[in-house]
């Protein structure tokens, strides 16, 4: 085995070439990690659900809240079912909610579709770690045209700061009285308003998008699911939150495919770049290679050595690319949610998926990029190599 220091020192001696190749591969890995950070942020927001005892009740056959409306009378009937947990002051943890998608202006003047959710008093308790932090205002008071927005939303939409006014659609406007956080869950893309205010304002009396509730225990949850789904009057389905979010994969699927396409093509491009550098290295070290072979190092030793050097080179680039993603970690992006044509706020997140992407890219680059140059080193005729100047 040829010692590693042979490779590391060679990389150091030809530092200009090494640096340039490292920078090139780092940028490529960085780009791909960026997209996958978006994917991971999206997946995180979907997987951070609250209590496993939570259920979402929608109209039967529908898969998201916008298209899943049903009558208020039916919703009221659900609230009276047994097995629903109780919160502070004995209030049942069940909330009727109305989801409304409307045009909202961004800070830069362009428009987009945002999610406005009309909520009931129990809604905050049904979200993971919902809170309005110190100094970020207060919960809204119904009937006064007030709303609260997630902290992400407040950074991106016009008028979404505390005390400001958000214009929704053509006619509605709500005054922002507080900013909330919810552990990175889907709620953090939303604007919250009292459900009665919203119903009245948009003229959707008698219509509910969904009911969110928490069961008392796992048995109660199963029982509630059975009752709701089997009752012919209702024509509803009751999904556990995880299942609900699992169906909303359209956007993240799209991003994953796009991201993979980008990453694969970039890796191929980078392979050629790494190969270029390694070819030059092999060319410059022909006599050394001949000497090593003369001394008795086998072809395999030479192959592993150069392949290793290529992988090392790309690994350095890949590590830098990955690390460069980290400072961008809490950047918020507006992503089109292909499920309901609204805009979700996604926060970049560099987690295991991103690291796996970076790792596989660098290994592929180093391995395949270095393969042909290494083979060239191996196939050299020893005598010719020794004669080379």
């Amino acid at each position: 085995m040829i010692p590693i220091k042979y490779n590391t020192r060679n990389l150091r001696v030809r530092w200009v070439t090494t640096t340039l190749t490292v920078v090139g591969t780092a940028m490529i890995v960085w780009s791909s990690c960026l997209i996958f950070s978006l994917v991971e942020g999206l997946q995180h927001s979907m997987s951070v659900s609250g209590d496993p005892l939570d259920l979402i009740v929608l109209r039967k056959g529908s898969t998201n809240e916008v298209n899943g409306g049903f009558a208020k009378d039916t919703a009221d009937a659900i609230l009276t079912l047994g097995g629903i947990a109780r919160g502070e002051q004995g209030m049942p943890l069940a909330a009727e909610e109305l989801v409304y998608i409307a045009v909202v202006e961004r800070n830069d003047g362009t428009h987009t579709n945002a999610i406005i959710r009309g909520v009931s008093p129990a809604s905050p308790a049904l979200r993971p770690k919902f809170e309005i932090p110190e100094g970020q205002g207060r919960y809204f008071t119904p009937g006064r045209g007030e709303c609260i927005v997630s902290h992400n939303v407040s950074k991106r939409f016009k008028g979404a700061k505390i005390g400001g006014v958000i214009r929704v659609g053509e006619k509605q406007a709500y005054r922002v009285v507080g900013l909330f956080t919810s552990n990175g869950s889907a709620a953090e893309s939303e604007i919250w308003v009292d459900i009665n205010d919203l119903t009245r304002d948009i003229g959707r009396v008698g219509n509910i998008s969904c009911v969110q509730l928490r069961a008392n225990s796992a048995e109660d949850r199963a029982q509630l699911q059975k009752t709701i789904e089997n009752d012919v009057r209702f024509k509803l389905s009751a999904l556990e939150e995880q299942d609900f979010f699992a169906k909303q994969t359209a956007t993240s699927d799209f991003l994953k495919v796009a991201g993979t396409l980008i990453a694969v093509l970039l890796t191929i491009g980078a392979m050629f770049a790494a190969a270029n550098t390694m070819y030059a290295a092999v060319g410059a070290r022909t006599r050394e290679i001949g000497t090593l072979r003369a001394l008795g190092f086998s072809r395999f030793d030479i192959l592993i050595s150069f392949l290793g050097e290529s992988i090392l080179l790309c690994l350095i680039g890949g590590a830098i690319g990955l690390l460069a993603t980290i400072p961008l970690n809490s950047l918020s992006f507006g992503m089109s949610n292909f499920n309901n044509f609204s805009e979700s706020t996604v926060t970049l997140r560099a987690g295991p998926l991103v690291m796996a992407v970076a790792m596989s890219m660098t290994l592929a680059m180093g391995l395949f990029g270095g393969l042909f140059p290494a083979l060239r080193a191996v196939r050299m005729d020893v005598i010719k190599a020794l004669r080379e100047l």
Binding site: V103, G169, K171, I262, L265
Partner: protein, 388 residues
């Protein structure tokens, strides 16, 4: 230009290196073409709509809002209008597939007078009009799934509680920059079904209304008239040209576009670095030769230009292959088929491909500049002294 021969030979001197540089440039630019086109197609298609003089009327609150069907008749009565149709998004499920293709409820008698760039054989059109439960589908959709006239097309309602049992009565065709994967059915069929059902409150929604005006000049005044008329009702409208409407969709992707732009710049930078490295390596091996040229009498700026030309040539070749290769690939192979419904069509325009080529030339220029300057400046004597 008499040096072209020499430049070419130099690039061929180390074929492996040149090929690798060209390959990495080509692959990267290929990718950029796909990404850039993805965003540009929307605005290019939008601009193409201008000549059709169409307006889109939607609820100003957004897609969740209703547009009452009665307004179709009201608008049709206005002067200067060729035809009007409702265009209601159904969003149904086909088998187990959710939203496999776009489905719209329309007025069969007017739809093709409005979208006159879409063609359908007259006998098929008549069959579509006469069968209330009939539908017309795009040619590409028919090809993708092997559907023929007379095949059933059952759709399960997701937004609406009424399922559609349609029969394919017609297949429409059109130019390559149109969505040829839509399914359009009779709006009345859906509405009657809804009225008989449980939640009749769902009925009567035209979705959006599309009209064609006889004259382009009429468009501005027409939009204002319509919006003024309905502004103070509980369902106010927003009327815009089809071009503006299409561009609105592009706006939704804004942040993603920013991301792709950032990536694009990073990748171009990476290419400059990589190509520059390759060029520098090549030159390091040629110091003696460059010194000899200088001794003969080639001056510095000539040397500089020769090196730059070589870099631009190599990068440009890569850009040519990547950009136009991508374009021709997308022209020949229908990429949108594999996009699982996200892209009704996909192509790389001449404009985008040319832009890609220009970017590659720029990459060549930037990457070659430092090695070129170094080669030009190195002293003759030093170069000659280098022991071979």
């Amino acid at each position: 230009m008499k040096y072209l021969h020499y430049i070419y030979r130099n690039a061929r001197r180390n074929p492996v290196r040149s090929v690798l540089t060209i390959a990495s440039t080509a692959v990267t630019l290929f990718l950029m073409m796909i990404l850039v086109s993805f965003f540009n197609i929307n605005s290019e298609v939008a601009e193409g709509f201008e000549k059709y003089n169409r307006l889109i009327i939607m609820n100003s609150e957004g897609f969740a809002g209703m547009v009452p069907i009665s307004r179709v008749r009201e608008i049709a009565a206005k002067p200067g209008i060729v035809a009007v149709t409702p265009f209601s998004w159904y969003g149904g499920k086909y088998g187990e597939e959710e939203m496999p293709f776009a489905q719209f409820g329309v007025d069969p008698t007017t739809i093709f007078s409005i979208y006159d760039e879409l063609t359908v054989p007259p006998d098929q059109l008549k069959a579509f009009i006469n069968d209330k439960a009939g539908c017309v589908i795009g040619r590409k959709l028919a090809e993708d799934r092997g559907w023929k006239i007379g095949d059933p097309l059952p759709l399960k309602g997701q937004i609406y509680s009424f399922d559609l049992n349609l029969t394919i009565r017609a297949i429409y065709d059109g130019p390559p920059d149109r969505d040829l994967r839509m399914c359009m059915f009779n709006w009345e069929y859906l509405d009657e079904g809804l009225k008989k059902g449980v939640s009749s409150a769902e009925s009567g929604n035209a979705g959006i209304i599309v009209l064609k005006a006889a004259d382009g000049d009429r468009l501005v005044s027409l939009s204002r008239e319509i919006d003024d008329e309905y502004r103070n009702t509980d369902k106010p409208t927003r009327t815009q040209t089809e071009e503006a409407f299409t561009k609105m969709f592009g706006e939704m992707m804004r942040d993603l576009q920013w991301l792709i732009t950032a990536i694009g710049m990073a990748v171009v930078f990476s290419l400059v670095v990589v190509a520059g490295n390759a060029m520098a390596m090549a030159l390091r091996e040629r110091t003696t030769e460059v010194a000899i040229l200088k001794a003969i009498g080639f001056n510095r700026s000539l040397i500089l230009n020769l090196v730059l030309a070589e870099a631009v040539l190599v990068a440009g070749l890569g850009g040519l292959i990547g950009s136009f290769g991508c374009k021709f690939l997308c022209d020949v192979v229908d990429i949108s088929k594999y996009s699982a419904g996200t892209l009704p069509f996909f192509y790389v325009s001449w404009r985008t491909a040319t832009l890609g080529l220009l970017v590659s030339l720029l990459i060549g220029l930037l990457s070659g500049s430092i090695p070129a300057m170094a080669a030009a400046r190195r002293s003759v004597i030093q170069g000659l002294r280098k022991v071979v």
